[in-house]
Amino acid sequence: MNDRIAFLREQSVKTKPYLTPERALLLTEFYQQNNNPTLSPAVRRAMAFRYLLEKKAIWIGEGELIVGERGPAPKATPTYPEVTCHSLEDLEILNSRPKTPFLVDEETKRLYRDIIIPFWKGKTIREKIFSEMSQEWKEAYEAGIFTEFMEQRAPGHTVLDDKIYFKGFKDFKKQIEASKRRIDDFRDPEALKKREELKAMEIVADALIMYAHRHAAKARELAEKEANPQRKAELLRIAEICSHVPENPPRDFWEALQYYWFVHLGVIIELNTWDSFNPGRLDQHLYPFYKQGLEDGTLTEEKAKELLQAFWIKFNNQPAPPKVGVTAEESATYADFCLINLGGVKKDGSDAVNELSYLILDVIDEMRLIQPSSMVQISKKTPDEFLLRALRILKTGYGQPSIFNTDAIIQEMLRQGKSLEDARCGGASGCVEAGIFGKEAYILTGYFNLPKVLEITLNNGVDPLTGKKIGLETGDPRNFTSFEELMTAFEKQVQHFVDIKIRGNNIIERIYAEYLPAPFLSLLIDDCIAKAKDYHDGGARYNTSYIQGVGIGTITDCLTALKFHVFDKKSLSMEKFLEMLAHNFEGYEEWRQRLINKTPKYGNDDDYADNILRQVFEIYYQAINGRPNLKGGTYRINLLPTTVHVYFGKKTGATPDGRKAHEPLSEGVSPVQGADRRGPTAVIKSVAKIDHLRTGGTLLNQKFTPQLLATEEGLKNLAHLIRTYFRLDGHHIQLNVVTAETLREAQRNPEKYRDLIVRVAGFSDYFVDLSQELQDEIIRRTEHQSF
């Protein structure tokens, strides 16, 4: 990277995230002044958006090529008091928590105490949500059966398609006009609401143009004072760009990036959407500008790279907005899940990899920032070279890019009834969630703790951690005479809690639709303009709601252990099993070891366990898939945890797989930590027994010791491993190259790392079984990357 980028990157990495009261204050001011009861929620939100963009500080930093910040400066992180208002205690926690703190200065605390908190108390969406939830919902929520995504962040979860690269906001306004003309004032009782929504969209479209013009003016002002002629010219060029986009379609590579960036800022200033918005198929969208620029000589590869790197830094400048309450204590990431997609297929189904795809991989390799995240889509048609290039970056232990199966994503989308063309232009976002870019609201509504539901089943509806009865009375398991009886009881409990969750979701969905519309996001996602309907209200072409299953490995191993010991081998009575769980295995270590070591486990390509996995999948799938949401769309499942398997673990007592109380659950669709002992092909075979195509995304994490990837041959075999997983319809694989630090951790906690295999020709052994001396040798070699 050149000096400019090195400087900008250094600044972005070095600056500590801090909380800015700017947005909260402006918003409070706005709502204090605009309490006219005849303003529709959509128009009021649009005016609030315009107010923010009119008043907020404009930042153009030294050497910047892409301009605009969500806050007044890089890393200044705003809050969204209309959704959730931080208390003074929350601010203290943010300021002092050891991991991922946000600095909060005294002035901000004062403003919160004197102005922001007094105004918003009792008016936030979060309070509204909790006041509307039923007792049973609250009990299940507190017990850690499920989480709720929308209690402190607005539903977003959508990604942009290619529309902004050939349409300006001027064109969006024309579409709004056309939509207005189609409203049927004679017969449509929704006509007024539609008109209000379109009016709101018009306001926000103009607001973003105005916001860009404010940047143009600022750039001109800086240019006048600038002594360095080169920077002066740059600033004038920036001014010209900001006068042109987003009002008009971009004319070149630079304008395309700046246009997207304004749009991105619009989305994340309007609301704190979950999961953060992103440009999606960036190599596809930018390629025409890249090619044209190289052809007409206005762009070089080097310049394109510099602009992309400047663009990357802008993402890193925007940490995920800080949470409140328990979540504030536990969240441990600044990343906001912007997942840029590369590769895949084009609309006509042909391979989409181009020179820019490779160039962007170079950018990822050089930038090594937490944000944005990146992934490669690998289809049957993707050249091996592209996959290998991605693996060479991963091999360095950076964790990016992650690897996705385009063919699976397309089939998942088709199964959900989406068109082939839309599916081909889609991809994955957030962690792993498949969606149609630019046309779908695919809302993750919350995680669902499957092992906890078993715990409640085993206690006949009671949560043993609190003694409260929160589930159904499905019978005393000591009286069950067959495994099927247990499964039936478990199934009933799953359905019971899914019902509670969906009932709550439906209310929350309407709260956002009625009280917190998002006209700016609606402008961007088809077919909100055409339907004159808000994104939160079913305006998108596709509206999917997800409930994410967590702990699939743990629940499979738990049910397997019960079937194996209680019902098949009869080596243990249910009575004794429950007693061991109640005592958290204290005094039963021998049995706990037997459960860990001498019981079939998911992840070993063993059908005894994997058939139970299939049954659990069916139960969860049948409980959710196909149910209607209130946006005219459908409920689907996916299987991913982000980091919630740790929180859910804390909420779950000892489990029949030998896991002690409060330890983390298994993560994604990965086997229980250390339970897979037959190597990666066996893991993949087991995981592929899940029907990925009936989900909207699964997450598989696989650890690799570095010596497996040391040679080109090793990388090729890894590529084969991935390709085979994808042939078996696997959705995604995340490769983690084991570091020396992990190996040291394995030395300390061998039980959790029994799956780590050290291999050389004709020889392999479990790392944890090696003597300390040999382990130390391997750690040294790992540190020096020499195998």
Partner: protein
Amino acid sequence: MTKGYVFDIKRYALHDGPGIRTTVFLKGCPLRCLWCHNPEGQNPGQEIMLRPGRCLEGCSRCLEVCPLTAISKIGSWPKIDSSKCDCCGLCTQVCPSEALEIIGREMTPEEVMVEVMKDFAFYQQSGGGVTFSGGEPLQQPKFLEKLLRLAKKNHLHTVVDTSGYAQFDLFVRLLPFVDLFLYDLKLIDPERHLKYTGKRNELILENLQKLVKLTDKIIIRIPIIPSVNDDKENLNLMIKFISSLGQVGGVELLPYHTLGKDKYGRLGRNYQLLDIKKPSSEEMNRIAAYFKENNLSVLIGG
């Protein structure tokens, strides 16, 4: 029915032939190479292996159950008197933590093939297949032949990893079902060979000379053991011998490693090459370059 002793089946084997493979380790070997990293593969019959690191504190289930009182306790760890043990397996059944393991499982070729075929999709994708190793797989010739025939029936690419110490007619019999031989050479001088492996090597060298006349699908694998076989004299003899053979598929040099050391302890045996270190990558490169100078195509494996 033909049955054989298998001591391990390893999936995702990447170093025993092309692509992603499953390596089946057959028990029993005529050689006793001092550096052997799979000592549990040497004896033809079953034996017991103990990983004391896995033992639970205060547990003596194995002692209680052993009918031959072959297990005693030294400090807090069990110790097995292998002269008394008949590998009945009772102790491994009661052991909760898998500290005890019977090495060597009697299997039919069909049972082995069920395991091998589990990764068929990976072989198809990567051009991999199955490798039969050991021990010395040719020590169980009927079993091996059955396995190879079955593998071929299932359209698998097959590799036999051999020390070359077997009757030559066995090679001839197996040849139609083998796509690649990994043929180990350690030392050329028969006396030194005897010293480090327990056997002279005339048979090994002769077999290789004959085999090359029948097929060129042979990769010669040379473990590089510092101070045992990395001297100029041996390397020169190696190069001379290999050059005289005619067409082979290449030479692979395998750097010695000490990772197998722990296994000796687990089997109640002593490791005799304690003072030898793994050769450095510079050293390996230097040896590889020497082979190349002499017009041999050589790779460093491992």
